[in-house]
Subunit: 136 residues, 2 copies
């Protein structure tokens, strides 16, 4: 399996663990390091294994959590580190997510996750100067 | 200068270039690689040197762009790659940002930026199970 295939598979396993509510699988995907970090949508950054894994434990406890579908994953690899850019479709609403992985003992483990809402515009545009876009 | 000091300095240079509208300085901080990527607040991901640097060129052209103050930068280093977690205070409103750097020829260059709005709650809480938080 190529690095890219392995990273995309690890990324898919992350969303599969979320979908099935499998906390042990999800926790096992995160690196066992105290520098792991996570920025959930609307949250400030949290850092540290206990804080990050604990946040996912609480989220998975919520039976009303939405389903999330990962779409268009794109892996960018640099040596033993990689990031996956993807869309998260949260009950149809797209978020822009980045999942950072580090190769540890041959396995790609999560070290950072950040998911951001994508603003919806009546007139779709790719023009970054469009005043409908955030100016930063 | 330690790695952490150098990374924090590169991160500060990024925000200084933005504040002064210095496009050349800002463009020079980004790695000269076609895998660089950026998720501006409310945007989908953009990938590639032309797209990412071009987006900053357009943003800097806007004389009405807000001032951004970087606060509480925290560098997490792993070999020749690093991320800085920080707050961006955009005219007082905090965003949660991650800036990824790669050491290239001895200099820390940006390879990814993502900035996310932080939801404001009437009742501040650190409880991730709080229904006021996003469930993911």
């Amino acid at each position: 399996m190529s690095d890219v295939d392995a990273i995309i598979a690890a990324n898919a396993a992350f969303y599969a663990a979320f979908a099935s509510g499998d906390f042990a699988a999800l926790a096992g995907l995160w690196a066992d390091e105290d520098t792991i970090s996570c920025i959930h949508p609307g949250w400030p950054a949290i850092v540290g294994r206990a804080a990050v894994v604990g946040s996912w434990r609480e989220i998975l406890k919520n039976p009303a959590r939405p389903q999330i579908v990962c779409a268009e994953p794109q892996a960018i690899v640099a040596a033993d580190q990689a990031r996956v850019l993807c869309l998260e479709l949260v009950e149809g609403t797209p978020l822009a997510a980045t999942n950072y992985f580090k190769r540890i003992d041959g396995a790609w483990r999560l070290v950072h996750h950040q998911s951001s809402p994508i603003a919806q515009f009546l007139g779709e545009t790719d023009d970054p100067a469009d005043p409908g876009r955030s100016v930063h």
